[in-house]
Symmetry: D2
Subunit: 383 residues, 4 copies
């Protein structure tokens, strides 16, 4: 693990998610650039002090030098955004698979470079778009894929939060500080931190791609150079229209990601704060409430559920599902096999590139008087 020392939020989340199913063991880490802090963090995690490093470059070198059966199998990157690419690059060059927090890199160019590196090394890459880990999000995707909703027409995805409604970044809130610092966060705060989750969720569930957008981003809190709010009109590659709204200044909102997808036969709705319920609706029959653990759910939803109906699973379980999928990819890789359905179902480099392209285009479009902005066709899988 790189990053995630004392006081970090997402590092602890990654560790719990990795530990939950007993399939992954934390064996080493470079938790901080401050050697002493890194050691303290490692000690608190019961790690062998020799495998707690003061830099990721040292870690890559030292671990690569260990016997194959002892060394780490992959690197989890949980640093601020600006380090995602250099750490991933170092890991890949040292022969390690990479599981990275989002957004993938500091900018789109780095993501494209990362794709080249992955093609070069043949190693694995996973991106923790957490919300794709929820069982009912997987069910939603499956229902769309079967055509149950008909041809998709309209997608509404929202991600309001309220925690940055005042200048937390000036009040010793480290989580706020780096997210609002262009050097660490990139060109966007709101779109980069949460809008990108929303865009990924819309594409993951719909199976569609955003091809055009029109956006209006705002920095409401004085002193900020990055956006803390934004609304984006979307157009998808099948002709569907969409709406993406994300904010860090919607006072009183917690982490209110939600998705609605409408086709010409049916609609669905899911909301992250009550993740164990998925709505399927038509015009002429009663709405159906699908629940995590239901015997009527598809295979991916079932494979990603740990407890019976009515035993709520949450954010950490969703996160753990991504770790399980990535672990399955690694096992298959080592056996020279194709991973199973669950293993294949983990956001990877294409999601990484699309996310970075979304962020950059949303920012550019907001600064433009032109209404519609089109994604470059160079983003597609074929080079």
């Amino acid at each position: 693990m790189v990053g995630g020392g004392e006081g970090a939020f997402i590092g602890a989340v990654h560790r719990m998610a990795a530990a939950l199913d007993g399939e992954i063991e934390l064996v080493c880490g470079a938790f901080s650039a401050d050697a002493e802090r890194s050691q303290r963090s490692g000690a608190a995690l019961y790690l062998d002090a020799r495998r707690v490093y003061d830099s990721y470059t040292h870690m890559m070198a030292a671990e690569a030098a260990l016997p194959a059966t002892e060394r780490m199998q992959f690197v989890a990157i949980v640093t601020p955004n600006n380090l995602h690419f250099p750490v991933a690059e170092a890991a890949l060059r040292a022969g390690f698979h990479v599981l990275s927090d989002k957004p993938a890199t500091l900018d789109l160019a780095q993501s494209l470079e990362l794709r080249s590196l992955l093609r070069e090394t043949g190693l694995l890459y996973g991106l923790t778009h957490t919300y794709a880990g929820y069982p009912l999000v997987k069910e939603a995707r499956a229902r769309v894929a079967t055509g149950e909703l008909g041809t998709l027409r309209k997608i509404v995805v929202e991600y309001p939060q309220g925690w940055l409604a005042d200048n937390q970044e000036a009040q010793d809130n480290k989580q706020a500080a780096w997210r609002l610092d262009p050097a660490q966060a990139g060109v966007s705060s709101c779109m980069g931190d949460i809008g990108v989750h929303a865009a990924n969720l819309a594409e993951y569930v719909s199976g569609l791609q955003i091809i055009q957008l029109c956006s209006d981003l705002t920095s409401f809190v004085p002193g900020r150079t990055l956006d803390d709010d934004g609304a984006v009109l979307l157009r998808f590659n099948n002709g569907a229209k969409g709406l993406l709204h994300a904010s860090q200044v919607c006072v009183g909102e917690e982490n209110a990601l939600s998705l609605r997808v409408y086709g010409d036969k049916g609609g669905l709705a899911w909301t992250q704060q009550e993740p164990n319920t998925l709505w399927l609706k038509t015009n002429d029959r009663p709405a159906q409430m699908l629940r995590t653990g239901g015997a009527y759910l598809g295979s991916l939803a079932s494979l990603n559920t740990r407890t019976p109906m009515g035993h709520p699973e949450g954010y950490l379980e969703a996160f753990a599902n991504l770790y399980c999928a990535f672990a399955e990819q690694i096992r298959a890789y080592e056996l020279g096999e194709t991973p199973g359905e669950r293993g294949q179902d983990c956001p990877g480099i294409e999601a990484a590139i699309r996310g970075m392209a979304f962020i950059e285009l949303a920012v550019a479009a907001s600064n433009s008087e032109q209404k519609w902005h089109t994604f470059s066709t160079q983003l597609s899988n074929e080079e």
Copy 2:
């Protein structure tokens, strides 16, 4: 009453709303241009056959000829949009106050002309933006007005419906047919029928005015010339941003109007399908659930509530509140007095004009490659 014969939806709603409180009595009507149908409708309503007319022009003339104590006191207009203005004009010219269904007229020009007529005659005009009639919508407005939410930053208003997801207009659904016919509905179906309610709700509660918009309207169902869906980015006169989404093709949605307003101190949320709950949220205290009938509510909410907490009031009660307010205006008018708080709280000609301007600008902006479109300053109260 003009319009609202057999089989009409909104006519029956107006009649129930008017009857609920025992303050208003239906005394005459031109329910249909088909004389026989008008008589049948009137008979079903226990009206004196002599006061059931075959045209609104006949009605105005005949009623105006009755002694002052016998004639009707105001005209309720419940026809398709294209008749709103001519009927209102005829009523005003005959000396009758007008309570009209929305949207006010077929186009903006008619609304401006209506304003001139009202200034000329000094008569009263009310517009049934039903949702402004709910007690907790009034409470929301009151809370914003006191500054409890701080400076407003963001407004999200949605109005998804699903009933026009297929071509109902070709299936003998009269409600669908006229709404999708430009001759009867005007330049818009979705924005004209429901988007205008959403825009009014946002302005009513926030006390702000939309000054710029960017829109993307769609006709999803083949064969339609008018929009059945749309998303609109909004900018308000205090610098707040907004988002309006309305649709008639969101399969499975009923009448899901909802509003969220966020300021720098607090946020609020209300949804029409559970109208007796209003949420007030901050970042640092538990969210508060306000309920219709609560002793802690302000005067307008209380004046517009009929039963104790937990006895749900609904759409008809909200509608009846507009009738009560208009009745109070008439009483005050007749006494030469200023109506009380409740009487003043009824959408009137300014809401009518703003609504028509919104519809026209949303359509124009959707057809344009230019991003932002600005409302004419001529709309303001001062000519």
Copy 3:
């Protein structure tokens, strides 16, 4: 109308319910035993002063003396409980049908006597168990009747309120005062005022009869002689078990009547504060959310709905449904016909008797050390 003068709650509710559909007109009233107050109340309702009476006996006599086409057609009784029987008796003896607020009478004996009077006079009697008026309660009953839930096993009905958690009766709250006064309310406050609604709802929806009960009633607030809270174990005539809980001291609860019914194939749930939703559940399929106005609903639900889906109907509409049903009974009576489905669906004298028996037995059982108490078989329809 008898009762319901200035400041009364349920009188105004009855008037709005009666007025809503334009089928019933209030023509006379004895609103208070205080002649002046009665006149003031009548004037506020725009009644002819000659038909505003200072006592119900005067009203019965005077109205009966009017020509048949002018006199009132039925009496609505909205007094405290102790007057329900004497007024009903006077009305029936004067030849008027009766629509009475609940509970039917002051004690069971009066209800049995009322049944005799009805048989004697052949007149009509309706009892406003409001909650049976909701469209989805009717749908629930219909679904049970078709066997969709299988054999019923378990019924849970609750009715918590909080408004009497302190001694409101000593604080000039008239609504509280008479409900807690044995002379006006009878042997029970909580069971008599709301428990009886809950019992009726359980029997109405299930189509079953309670045959045994075990109860524990309490007077929590010092100084009260009547119960303000109670829990009752139920046994039904098909072997199903049940649970009824009602309270006036559950602080923070509004009017939280709810019902759950479980059979061996399915379950249903409905709650009065969100009356437009009915849940149908099975073990192996997604739960279904039925909504007022849904095209999939049965005839009684549809006949008792006024607006399309998503336009919430509430308490007053439910109440109005009882008035409509009773009006239909009267029309059929006058034509010598059998009322239609809707007209037949109004609680009558049998519900009245069962309700009074429930109240008396719940109180008796609570005072007993014996566990189970059995309803007298004399209550049944056959004499």
Copy 4:
């Protein structure tokens, strides 16, 4: 770990809960009495084959023979009920602390004996009443303790499930089979499996003790000797009244544990299927919705929360909280210290005894014609 081999439900839950926070490592197990199956289970968990045992007696002996730094520190018991006591006894006699699934033992006598053993050995005992592990259940307890609700009057606790509505036990459902087998489950299925959770939750949150009860248990599904449903009237030691309802045959219900507590100043409500919300209500102010992670929550709620507001925590996190508390107890024990607030907050032997007494009395009371049944005073802490 004893029990929890392949296909078991609760064993896997315990393992995930133990692993989540990286504080506890599974080091050995007797997963099945079938040696081969136990080994297969251990291998799947990456355990050293030498520490996978074919019986708990072997495990206790072998582990006790290991050096102190290598041997296990405590035993987690996840077998059917009949083995809880013998395994606990063996563990304690071998010097190991015990964390046991509920209900504590097969009957009350065993629980009392267990208490003696604990006093004798001085070792630690924890009981996994999962629902006491939720942060907002802890907050509810804290709010009651501060007197915010005033003097408690009424407690309603429910636990409906539907999964045993047909004879699953005859359909190769192992989870069903042992729960309905008196030899493995004890005198009760419904009360023993879930009613006891409900009773514990009521006492945990209220800080009160049930002193009397009246019960009506049922076996709805033909062929069962144990109850699959029950309702229990409760009386608490401060004079409060209560109602407990649990069922395994409420078709369509998942795991719908919920609790409502009302005092003379306020009420609270919590439901397990939406565990991150706690309601606090009064009569004169808006209801407050408390949310997991809120800065306004007390210390125990905060200590038992892993992620920020809006990142839902669920059943496994609640379970893990019990493991964390027990781990803290062990650390304190080994240091000869008193555990901190979190460590002390784990159900122990007193909860075990009260639970077994509740089960036995509920069954006895149901079989009796006597209404009220009183708990023995011998259950109290003082012998």
